[in-house]
Point group: C2
Chain length 493, copies 2
């Protein structure tokens, strides 16, 4: 069983299969009976809860409040904003009836044709439309602005090809929807929230990200600008991990939301929206994990430290427990989440393998000999290094190790990204280089046509026009036309 747990496909053999197996073996999620929808299992959900709690604190610290808007949206709302409907109508779950009835032929229940809705409702793929229809009643004067609201919710997009966490028909997310009196304020808000996402990704998930702006082709349907954080997975592909949109006055115009400004003149309201989803779980898993299973950054690990006793009989277990119980209390007092696994229906070898697969950052093991010697074995999951250290001082050592793992994971991921990022100046080189994976910094003439051509010929897209980094102008690698700066190309999830 311990062997079976760790019997993974290797990343180098089949990265995609490795990921799918890991999600299941680490007990994070599984496919459900409904196509494209997953079940998030307790261990996976516990990680998501830690993410939620931290993000929620960060949203509140930047002045946002939570609210809740309806799951269902009248079909006609979608059509109000021209780009928005193009982007979302094709993948909607449509509610057409409100009742089932017994099948007259005796086969369970059937849709009651008499219970057809006058106007169909769609399950929200995102909530701009229903929210702006609501804001219309909330906003009258500049005094009512800004509105800084966030919603934690489930959304639904009928995706053809789905992968757990990365792309599922239903997913969990938060969506911020803000309303402002000026263009500048709305843009500032969109950029502020991108910074929040970047801090969260780097400081909590230990995932380095590149902040940037999307090209027109990759923009959110209905936005004037889409800001993004892009992370690199271990196969060199990019994962868009969070986006923040400056929506201009598009939704205000679509839903006729105006306010009286300070000069007492009516004006359309300015908007932003921003969201991250359970897709972050995919980013977390794929950035750090290895051929032995999940690797979790301590700040998001549901269990940061597991303690496994090694014993032959009850007397030994009792002696170990007497030593361990005060340690558990000490660790908890330091705010460290710890599990003492003294269950006697699983052997230590199985426990070791299980917690390794589940990515618990630090494992302490203590046996009869350790009791005699005043020692304990400590293992860190990121490097799998273990050593035997003095029991005294183990609390400090554990705390130190957790910090070290957190920063080591970030550094490792950053080093990896840097090693897989290069500059390319000719389209021929680009075509070769893109096969190796990774980020390519190249010049582009700024047109959708050139981007489309590159995508068709190489499957690479512009991940973003970076906010930071080298801004030297140059010439487009494809057309030779002027380019304002290098942008980031990659294949992506």
């Amino acid at each position: 069983m311990a062997k079976e747990l760790k019997n993974f496909t290797k990343r180098s053999d089949n990265y995609s299969q490795w990921y799918n197996e890991l999600v299941v073996k680490a007990d994070l999620a599984e496919q459900s009976a409904v196509r494209g929808c997953m079940v998030i299992k307790p261990y996976g959900y516990a990680i998501w809860e830690k993410m939620q709690r931290q993000l929620d604190d960060m949203f509140k610290a930047t002045g946002h409040q939570n609210a809740y808007f309806p799951l269902l949206i009248p079909k006609s709302f979608l059509s109000r904003e021209a780009d928005h409907v193009e982007g979302f109508a094709k993948e909607c779950a449509v509610v057409t009836h409100y009742r089932l009835k017994n099948d007259p032929e005796g086969n369970g229940v059937v849709v009651d044709p008499a219970a057809r809705l006058e106007e169909e409702l769609i399950i929200r793929p995102t909530s701009e439309t229903i929210i702006w229809n609501t804001y219309k009643n909330w906003i009258h004067s500049y005094r009512d602005l800004p509105i800084l609201v966030n919603q934690w919710a489930n959304v639904f997009r009928w995706e053809m090809r789905t992968r757990m966490f990365l792309r599922t028909a239903e997913f969990l997310w938060q969506e911020g929807h803000t309303a402002h009196a000026t263009r500048e304020e709305a843009e500032e808000e969109a950029r502020r929230m991108l910074e929040v996402y970047a801090s969260f990704a780097q400081d909590y998930m230990a995932v380095p990200v590149i902040k940037g702006v999307k090209s027109a082709n990759e923009r959110f349907a209905g936005a004037l600008d889409t800001y993004t954080i892009e992370a690199m997975m271990q196969d060199g592909k990019a994962l868009q991990s969070g986006t923040s949109h400056f929506l201009g006055q598009n939704f205000a115009k679509a839903f006729d939301v105006t306010f009286m400004n300070k000069d007492n003149k009516p004006e359309y309201v300015w908007a932003s929206s921003w969201g991250v989803s359970t897709r972050l779980m995919g980013a977390l898993i794929m950035t750090h994990s290895d051929d032995n299973g999940l690797v979790l950054p301590p700040k998001l690990a549901p269990i940061q430290v597991v303690i496994v006793p090694i014993y032959k009989d009850n007397a030994q277990l009792q002696a170990i427990s007497e030593k361990v119980n005060p340690l558990v209390d000490e660790l908890r007092k330091r705010g460290i989440s710890v599990k003492y696994d003294d269950a006697d229906n699983r052997r230590p070898g199985f426990k070791f393998a299980d917690y390794e697969v589940k990515g618990v950052p630090v494992r302490l093991a203590i046996g009869a000999r350790d009791l005699e010697n005043g020692t304990v074995e400590i293992m860190r999951r990121d490097t799998l290094e273990k050593e035997t250290v003095a029991f005294d001082g183990i609390v400090d050592e554990t705390a130190r190790l957790l910090d070290d793992i957190q920063s080591n994971l970030f550094k490792k991921a950053l080093d990896f990204r840097e090693s897989k990022t290069c500059e390319v100046d000719s389209y021929d080189d680009f075509k070769k280089k893109i096969e190796e994976g990774g980020f390519i910094l190249a010049h582009w003439d700024g047109t959708p046509e050139t981007e489309e051509k590159i995508k068709e010929e190489t499957k690479a897209t512009i991940r973003c026009i970076p906010m930071d980094g080298d801004t030297t102008p140059g010439k487009c690698m494809v057309t030779g036309k002027p380019s304002q700066r290098r942008v980031i190309f990659a294949r992506s999830y």
Copy 2:
């Protein structure tokens, strides 16, 4: 504006209208564009978040973990359990298509007839079916049991008559779904969670509840026993505030979920489920609030203390702020959530009215004369009593007052319930008494027929067979047949 805020329908004039107005004026929720669905506004949602957090802690303290299951359920799943489908099929939102397309006639978007689902999906009205279909893969041996899982989710029931928080088509809730090796364990779990709900209602919401068992007529569709907590609203009607179900092996049989018991024999798994919803918001509002607006128990108030400065000019405001800022810090250190409202675009009178309508438990007001005298005016929302007290010691006084309000609200609600509860022995008396509202303890012969007759003739139902209280046998007030004990009748929401 301050007047308009407080210009409520009185409870005694029209209780139902008072409630509807209060929900809107206290900024808790509003109707949405989708029939029967509400928007929960930030202030209302903040109360719900406090409830969630507390309940979640209590669930975790009793060994439960959170998980997440799909929003959509295959239609055929509903039919698997005979009672369940009867209970829920009639009010389902049915998804039949997965795509919209541009209307060939140019009127926005229409359902794409080519995108019809092979099997319709329903939006979960409750998740027993999809969860037990999942548990089938999780449970093999007695070692896999118990499973103690909870889900925070939105659910949908197509209700004909809706009222904000009390009965809405979409609502937010938690649903616990547990799996056990023995009947006793599952029953114990159902009762344990009822105790958790009762503690939460009484200790946090300050809402006294009666714990009991539902009669067969009022049982959850698919349960062998439904436990309930019943609260009395100020109009004397009962509000079912939380239920916990012993499901026997019904869902295990419907989804073929068996486990190998300790004797290595296959056995069907035993189940419980339990839930509370945003309906609790309705219970909270209707139990404590008065003709001036919302009254909140301090433990669930997003703002426990508001401090309003009374000033003529900036110099006065500054002097007051210098005195108040350290007080704010002190209160926060004591874990008290406090808002210092020094906004200068609203006058004190408006602020007073607004916080009164919003039910903030304690209001401190401080003006120039208070500064001179070393005093502060303190008002408690529950009784509207105010007095001027010494500024020194105000932190202790505020903390004491918050405790006092919490217990006073509970006591007041309990006294009210007791004053509106009586024993009745003849059906004639019952018919008169039920018109006055309140709970009636009466003998009943235990048959669904008699209960049905009483319901038809008086609109009263059996709220529960209480777990506590007088268990003296008697004779049914309608049929004269033997009755094991008095049960509670009331009209209900």
